[in-house]
Assembly symmetry: C2
């Protein structure tokens, strides 16, 4: 059972090492911690970077778990099976400067005792202030990778991200989206090796995209106003992760390492009652763009 788990886990662990090295270079000051954890359900390596020069808080985590599916997990996954195995890397970085967007990436592999295997993943970008040309460049980079594997991937996975990274109760998207895909069974669009290649390429693209965004934005001047807006937007990020994010739910339900799972939460958050953006302000411009279905590439 779970014959190919080792293969994927080994690859993802290596991508964690590579990614951390690149992100450390990008920050230029702080280094990642390296906490190995072992629990009944499996093991993982949590790598956290806090209080960096450019990065306020973030992590690039690897885990590999197996176990029985309980009811909450079945529901979070939308599958009925007895035992499961999963491995993945999952990462989020929150910048110090409010003009550095928050970025998230996850690639994952699931296998179930009924023989079903899945790949899933996604990358999405959550700017505190949306810069449409940066959003366009981001989407174009994702499209270029997607197009190498399947012509339908970018449009399909872009629209999936719009639906997934959405705060229903706020009627707003988390940010400018990106791509999201789940439950992709090897043998349908791609075979196992190509799915692994696709997720590998996404995991390798991620630190490059992020370094570019940090380089372009981390030295922009800002004041208390932008910091305040950052904390408000980070509040929405926390709402999304705690209310909707399936990875977070699955992790907490499966008895995963709470500190590793919740490392995705922003460092500093404010919740005001009925915060109102000023008409015509940069904050209002960002607010207006938190919508599904925007053709970001066309806006670039």
């Amino acid at each position: 059972m779970f014959e190919r788990l080792d293969l994927v886990a080994e690859r993802y662990a290596q991508l964690q090492t590579e990614g951390c090295a690149l992100i450390e270079q990008c920050d230029g000051k702080e280094f990642f911690t390296k906490d190995r954890w072992n629990k009944k359900i499996g093991s993982g390596i949590t790598r956290v970077l806090s209080d960096g020069e450019k990065i306020a808080k973030g992590a690039l985590n690897f885990s590999r778990v197996t176990g029985d599916l309980n009811e909450g997990m079945s529901e979070a996954l939308g599958v009925k099976a007895g035992k499961y195995a999963a491995t993945g890397i999952s990462t989020i970085f929150h910048g110090r400067n409010p003009f550095v967007p928050t970025i998230h990436m996850n690639v994952r592999y699931f296998a179930f005792d009924n023989g079903v295997e899945w790949f899933g993943g996604g990358i999405d970008l959550t700017p505190v202030y949306i810069d449409t040309s940066q959003a366009a460049a981001f989407h174009l980079q994702l499209k270029q990778v997607c197009d190498k594997y399947h012509p339908d991937f970018y449009p399909e996975f872009k629209s999936w991200a719009d639906d997934y990274f959405f705060l229903k109760h706020r009627h707003e998207t988390r940010g400018v989206g990106g791509i999201f895909f789940d439950r992709q069974q090897p043998g349908t669009d791609l075979d196992f090796d190509r799915w692994m290649e696709f997720t590998t390429e996404l995991a390798r693209l991620y630190p490059l995209i992020y370094s570019e965004l940090v380089n372009s934005n981390a030295d922009k001047p800002y004041s208390e106003r932008e910091s305040e807006w950052q904390k408000i937007r980070w509040g929405r990020y926390a709402e999304f992760n705690l209310v909707y994010d399936r990875g977070t739910k699955f992790g907490l339900e499966s008895g995963g390492n709470a500190e590793s799972i919740l490392i995705s939460l922003p460092p500093d958050v404010k919740w005001h009652y009925k915060f109102q953006v000023e008409n015509g302000s940069r904050e209002a411009q960002t607010q207006k763009l938190l919508k599904k279905g925007i053709d970001w590439i066309g806006m670039g």
Copy 2:
């Protein structure tokens, strides 16, 4: 259908007015806003007090809703029925001084089209720093009200609160607990009038308890260290409300007013990776007491 909804809603609306007046007196500076909302599902009055002298942020909300039970709501309520009606008041206050505990109270009435009616409610206290004699006094006040209605209420509802206000993923309680009860059908322990009286008495007790706690603690000196711990504990509060709280889930699922529902979130939150309390510190003493099954009254 829903013959007694008006009666309960009228009472609860009146309790909102009374409670706000007392809490304003307690703060001594700020007043509550009064936002009436009307949506397809019903209406409510959101009353928020922000940036007070003693109170950092809080609200005392009234709502009255009806609608069809969708799947998420059925699950949040644990009931299968077609239409429902509900009314309740719900309130949380976060103090400015870290020695003022966060307090929460909710009383609610549900009616379903299958003829079932429920009362539910609860009061719980979440100190940033636990003061055992204040926790004992708090529990004693709750016990005294409970005992007037049924000898089993306090022990049963106290233990229910321990289970309900619990962060499973942190293996810790939200605070020192209190009482919690749900799905209490008129006719079993008490008749309809007595249930309404019981919830009324709890709603009237709440501002008195809170004013006492504010008076005793709001002038205690504190430094950056206590403020930092306050933000960390408020982070746990946000985790509880967004991940576990059934009222929040039900509200968001039923398409309620997001700003009114999420007013429960603390004003200012920090999430550090693996925050460690110092051995023997006041923070460590509080951490140790975040457990189920403590006989608070016996500790007073």
